[in-house]
């Protein structure tokens, strides 16, 4: 008797901790994902702690140290670990502060595109009919534009600046989410469990967001991870064209653009921002893969 009540108590709603432990178990199966997560967490910490650990202010110019190479190269100085750029700003400090911008752009753009894309896509896939036709046509038109050109036009209309660039990039990326969500919702909608929920009395909103949507997350997570990097790259491209983050903002993309004339003379001014972007993107992609493995019960081994 006591035995059964003990098992019953254990059966009670699994605590948040237990669910987290389960999630971590499946996530840690994937070694790449753990590495990606570690790098990403490190990046976030560095970005948050940038004012504390950066050796110099991001925009401080040292007239006596223009295009100083990294300290392990001939002519390098210990004060500027990764060297300086064409106006004598410390690369390391700028990269650390740039991490804040890049991560911020990625998060905001992805969230904006994801939420609006999921909402529109679910409505289109669930209700079909004229609403679906109208939505897909508009999305097709957006996709038919070269994405950067469209973002450029949008920024030109809204006015240059980081905020407007992020809105423009989110608008350009959102059709991908709409299409993915719509396709996934359409596939899930005719499954028996949805009908069963309907027979049990579930309304449209409940069916859309509680029953169907959780089963569509896997492709959305992967897309979110991929577009996180695209967002950073697009923002950099807009900055390069003078439409995104304005100099002297230490945004990685803008730094790359500013440094392009020194590619041959001073490799470090282009290499380090490029490496920063590469590492960030790679870490996030690996993490996205692991997330999908952990969040999709169909892939779990029981």
């Amino acid at each position: 008797m006591t035995d059964t009540s003990a098992t019953h108590a254990k059966m009670q709603d699994p605590s948040r901790r237990a669910r987290l432990a389960e999630f971590w178990y499946y996530f840690s199966e994937n070694r790449g994902a753990v590495i990606g997560l570690a790098v990403f967490v490190l990046l976030v910490i560095l970005a948050l702690a940038a004012p504390l650990i950066a050796p110099h202010a991001a925009n401080a110019q040292y007239r006596d140290a223009i295009l100083v190479p990294p300290y392990w190269q001939e002519g390098g100085r210990a004060a500027y670990l990764l060297g300086t750029d064409a106006v004598g700003r410390d690369m390391l400090s700028r990269l650390l502060f740039g991490a804040r911008y890049s991560l911020f752009i990625g998060v905001v753009v992805t969230l904006l595109a994801l939420t609006s894309g999921i909402l529109i896509g679910t409505v289109a896939g669930y209700f079909r009919g004229w609403a679906d036709t109208a939505i897909t046509r508009v999305m097709d038109i957006i996709l038919a534009f070269p994405s950067l050109l469209l973002a450029l036009v949008l920024v030109a209309v809204l006015g240059p600046g980081l905020t407007n660039a992020m809105i423009a990039i989110a608008l350009v990326q959102q059709p991908h989410y709409v299409r993915l969500t719509r396709a996934a919702v359409m596939a899930e909608k005719n499954r028996d469990y949805v009908t069963a929920a309907r027979v049990a009395g579930a309304g449209n909103l409940r069916l859309m967001f509680r029953t169907i949507l959780p089963n569509c997350t896997a492709p959305l997570i992967v897309q979110a991870a991929l577009s996180f990097s695209t967002a950073i790259l697009d923002a950099a491209a807009l900055g390069f064209l003078g439409m995104g983050a304005q100099p002297p903002t230490p945004e990685w993309g803008t730094m790359l653009a500013e440094a392009r004339e020194f590619i041959l003379r001073a490799w470090w001014v282009v290499t380090f921002p490029g490496l920063a972007i590469l590492i960030t993107v790679l870490a996030i992609n690996l993490m996205g893969d692991g997330l999908r493995d952990a969040l999709d019960p169909k892939l779990k081994r029981s």
Binding site: H8, T195, V199, A200, G201
Partner: protein
């Protein structure tokens, strides 16, 4: 004395196919003029080949789709889902068990939530009682309490079908529509699930509409039998009447096509082969 739980009069369901840009649209008559009546505690079996409109009829009875014409009565009350929203009370009365146990459970929902969901939607039963009732139903269909927090992919087909039955019963329905509930299961599990269904029928006084193409299953479980052929009910009567004295040509063909496994017929077949 006996009360009629389900009655349909002249149910018709047409599907219109648009022929695309240049083609001509067509109309397919999936169900033609089907009338039936089931009394409380009885089982009506609907038999027919695939594509004959059995499942369409099931969806109409379950109030998922609306019939193109005809009337549907549940517990003597006329139902018309196109005219007005279905009340929760009406929804509760008819539940369905699907053919494919792999598609009928939400892969992201734990079994406990699968069972408690109908209560959350339709009633304001407190959480602790919901849990107790789900637990009780779980043991009633022959599963263990520790299955409560597992996901559907951890179960076999037979167990999933038990879960689907438990979910359908959570709202104390009057009528249970079983859309080929055992045809995706292997034979020994079929027998277990059929026995479970028979026990539950006795216990809750359930009324079944049992859709199948397997005549041996139908003979075992049905009180009345309806044979459908291309959307039409070609034969309708008590089980004994239909099985002993089939009237329609198609019914006779159907019976003739059933393999016989009793000793007598096997012996005959062997003799014929030897000769």
């Amino acid at each position: 004395m006996s009360e009629t739980v389900l009655e349909t009069r002249g149910i018709v369901r047409d599907y219109h196919l648009s022929g695309g840009l240049f083609g001509q649209g067509r109309t397919i008559h999936a169900v033609k003029d089907v009338s039936l009546k089931v009394e409380k505690g009885k089982t009506l079996a609907i038999v027919g080949e695939s594509g004959c409109g059995k499942s369409t009829l099931a969806r109409i009875i379950t109030m998922i789709d609306a019939p193109t014409a005809g009337e549907l009565f549940i517990d003597g009350e006329k139902v018309d889902i196109t005219a007005n929203r279905l009340s929760a009370e009406m929804r509760r009365k008819v539940q369905i068990v699907f053919q494919n146990p792999y598609g009928s459970l939400n892969p992201r929902q734990k079994i406990g939530d699968v069972l408690m969901d109908p209560l959350v939607i339709n009633s304001d039963v407190p959480a602790s009682e919901r849990r107790d009732r789900a637990m009780a139903m779980l043991t009633k269909v022959g599963l263990q309490p520790e299955h409560f927090n597992r996901y559907p992919h951890m179960f076999s087909g037979g167990q999933r079908q038990r879960i689907a039955i438990a979910r359908a019963l959570m709202l104390n329905p009057r009528l249970l529509v079983l859309d080929e509930p055992v045809s995706a299961l292997d034979l020994s599990v079929q027998a277990q699930v059929l026995n479970l269904l028979a026990d539950l029928q006795d216990e809750f006084g359930l009324t079944y509409v049992f859709i199948s193409h397997d005549l041996s299953v139908v003979r075992y479980i049905a009180d009345d039998v309806m044979v459908m052929y291309f959307g039409e009910a070609v034969e309708y009567g008590t089980r004994d009447k239909v099985f002993s004295d089939p009237q329609h040509e198609y019914t006779r063909t159907l019976f003739a096509a059933t393999p016989r496994a009793d000793v007598e017929s096997i012996r005959k077949r062997l003799e014929r082969r030897a000769a």
